[in-house]
Symmetry: C2
């Protein structure tokens, strides 16, 4: 691997001039520039980003802690975020390991320029420790943490209002007993996500129940089979994501229940699964693509020490045939 020194030698200039030339700062004569460019091409030289990072005390790497990119919500978010980061000449360190103190420390120790995290599987201290090191942090807030370091910027999704809208819609369609299938675990105190909290609050006037710790399609399928056996009066299921909703739909089919007549199903994320399943599934559009872009933009602003306001995301309910009887069949395909 050619280093800056090799380039300088070949070009017959000092190493400093090579730096000045590469970074387009400082003065370097046209003649010297040409010699340097020739040497750079010849040696296929790329500046060592690690050395540069150490010197300027910034690696231009953002860390993304996302518990599970197999969830389309996150894969979309990370996809867009990495694209935007790349355009701005940043690079992203991705990690799905979110509950290991040592690992988090390690990721951050790469003199990282900023950290994005979704807080449903982390704890406040982990986030606060990063923020205390003066590293910009943007949090996709799922759980309300009163003692969060105030330097942390948040992206908040308005689950309270959308859950009210969902419950209202289900009531209009005749729901009497709603089951919510949550991805968060009920066991960990302080880890009930705001989606679940919002559901419980929105359902105070109607019979309801919550199933915890389910996020895969297969788990949705099995857990609904079980839940329905225990309580056949369940007539509506709201699911933490579309994959789970698809599992519930399949379970309903297995139980010979008609959707939406016997059982109404609602998912989250408005993924292609919900648009294209049969019947299409009512879902909530949270625009994770946009959140990915927003997250990087916020990180970038924080990097420049600009003041960054928290961002509020207002989800949209997309009603489809899994929750509403629609007389004339039509294709519910958005966009």
């Amino acid at each position: 691997m050619a280093s800056r020194k090799d380039v300088a030698e070949l070009a017959g200039v000092s190493p400093a001039s090579v730096s000045y030339y590469i970074n387009q700062n400082g003065y370097v004569s046209k003649e010297a520039g040409e010699k340097i460019q020739f040497a750079v091409d010849k040696l296929n030289y790329t500046p060592n980003a690690i050395a540069r990072s150490l010197r300027i005390k910034d690696s231009k790497q953002f860390v993304f802690f996302c518990n599970d990119i197999r969830n389309p919500f996150y894969s979309q978010l990370v996809h867009r975020a990495t694209k935007v980061a790349t355009e701005k000449d940043y690079t992203v360190l991705f990690s799905p390991v979110v509950d290991n103190e040592e690992h988090i420390k390690k990721m951050v120790s790469f003199q990282v320029s900023g950290v994005f995290a979704s807080n449903n599987h982390m704890n406040v201290n982990q986030i606060n420790n990063i923020a205390k090191r003066d590293i910009p942090v943007v949090l996709l807030r799922d759980i309300d943490w009163p003692d969060l370091d105030e330097s942390v910027s948040q992206i908040k999704v308005l689950f309270a209002s959308i859950m009210e809208e969902i419950v209202e819609h289900l009531k209009e369609e005749g729901a009497k007993n709603i089951c919510y299938i949550a991805s968060c675990s009920s066991l960990n105190i302080g880890k009930i996500d705001s989606k679940t909290t919002a559901f419980i609050k929105a359902s105070k006037d109607i019979k309801h129940s919550v199933l915890h710790n389910i996020s895969a399609t297969a788990d949705g399928y099995n857990s609904f089979l079980e839940a329905f056996k225990e309580d056949p009066s369940i007539d509506s299921v709201v699911c933490t994501n579309d994959g789970v909703a698809l599992g519930v739909l399949k379970a309903a089919e297995k139980l010979n229940l008609s959707v939406p007549e016997d059982i109404k199903i609602i998912g989250f994320d408005n993924s292609s699964i919900s648009q294209y399943s049969n019947p299409p599934i009512t879902s909530v559009d949270i625009n994770s693509d946009e959140i990915g872009k927003i997250a990087v933009d916020m990180l970038l602003s924080k990097t420049k020490k600009e003041t960054v306001e928290d961002v509020i995301i207002k989800p949209k309910l997309i009603i489809r045939r899994s929750s509403k009887k629609i007389k004339h069949f039509y294709m519910e395909i958005t966009k």
Copy 2:
């Protein structure tokens, strides 16, 4: 941010001793160790990974170039790979930007320990350039590159045999005209992926066609609508992934075609979409989870200069109701 020097001062030892203590090499007395540990805790010290990387000329970062993690095949692969890498104390730099020469150079310039790439959206030179820098490279081979640097290790999926199996199966079910929907673009010479090549070869005795450059569900939906309008004799569709297959299924529904009687549909990746859709979709299990683990294991071995054999993956055809009339309805749910 506390540095090693701060710890040394607080503990009353030399910076070198701190290093020896942290890295568990060299000798440091029990007494000195205790003082150092105290200082580390007090200052919440974490060694600077960038400085360490520069010194040992290795960042313990792997780069993953994956064109689109929104595709469940890749999100599963990357998910598992990052988990395994983390266990081994490596970190992963993820990038979906795969066609930008400068960006690739930049990622690699972090004194990276290894690179994983899927080659369907890159070119040989990009890969060879990395390999020439003596960086371990593992390639998920989609396109056959004769002039690939021989230091590159490959994971090859046996598409030839599985495509034969698929075409055979479709013929048995009465297929006369098969359409393959490919994600690769036909425009770029040398970029036809081996899946497409394998399909064309397997279909030499039957009428067939290929649609290019389609990888999202919506595109699958629209492209099939169009293709069927042009050629209503199409009775089978093989799709590059399950998402596309779901789109085709929806299009068939829209056209009032019965599946599998009028039109047989086959997807790829055996994702939960294919297992849980209605009807369930015949698909090909490639075990991307396992590939993620294998990729990191190979990278790790190459890092230790061990000889690494190429790996052959044999996909499995999972037949479901979208391609085969099954008399007694049952749930085709694997695992």
